[in-house]
Symmetry: C2
Subunit: 113 residues, 2 copies
């Protein structure tokens, strides 16, 4: 384990940052939606179908929050009928280092528990 991770745990700002991050990605559906979008699904119904058991209510609620956090864009194409496309942003990819750490931690954790 590298020493760069040694950090001042008593720093209340750091704590706040951790809580902020948790707030952005926690909830039952957020990561699932990001995954669905990452694998190319763009349209509302398409995303809904790709995520078993999600309801329309939850999907639109979570998409809105992801959009507010600039992790997802919503584009309205003025064709007829109107076509709406959701896409993950480039910015969303800045989550990767963190998600990657989560994956490797949990992988290791499985061997410990």
């Amino acid at each position: 384990m590298k020493e760069e991770y040694v950090c001042n745990f008593s720093c209340p700002t750091d704590l706040k940052y951790i809580q902020d991050t948790l707030y952005v990605i926690s909830g039952k559906w957020k990561v699932l939606i990001i995954v669905s979008l990452s694998s190319g699904h763009k349209r509302y119904r398409e995303i809904a179908k790709s995520i078993p058991n999600i309801t329309f209510r939850m999907l639109s609620k979570e998409l809105k929050e992801l959009e507010m956090n600039k992790l997802v864009t919503r584009t309205v194409h003025n064709e007829t009928p109107v076509l709406i496309e959701y896409e993950i942003t480039e910015y969303c990819k800045t989550l990767w280092p963190m998600l990657s750490e989560m994956i490797s931690w949990a992988k290791h954790h499985r061997t410990v528990i």
Copy 2:
């Protein structure tokens, strides 16, 4: 951004790992408790006092979960009166790379939002 973070988002196992990790550290109090223990608080009442508004119920519930995940140890010293000490484990420190990424992501995110 380094390429080592490029990852197969459609991999369902990775998704499961992320959810596992979130499960371990999410909730209103877990990180606060880890912080309190990290800054040297060891005894139940002491921890409780250091975290504003936490109730005994939540504290004991969360400590149990943290103990189950081997992030915290509970030691009973058989003096009279009995003395109980909680401590974070060395293993808990393996969370640091991830928490560190969370902190830096949220720091950056503040500038974006």
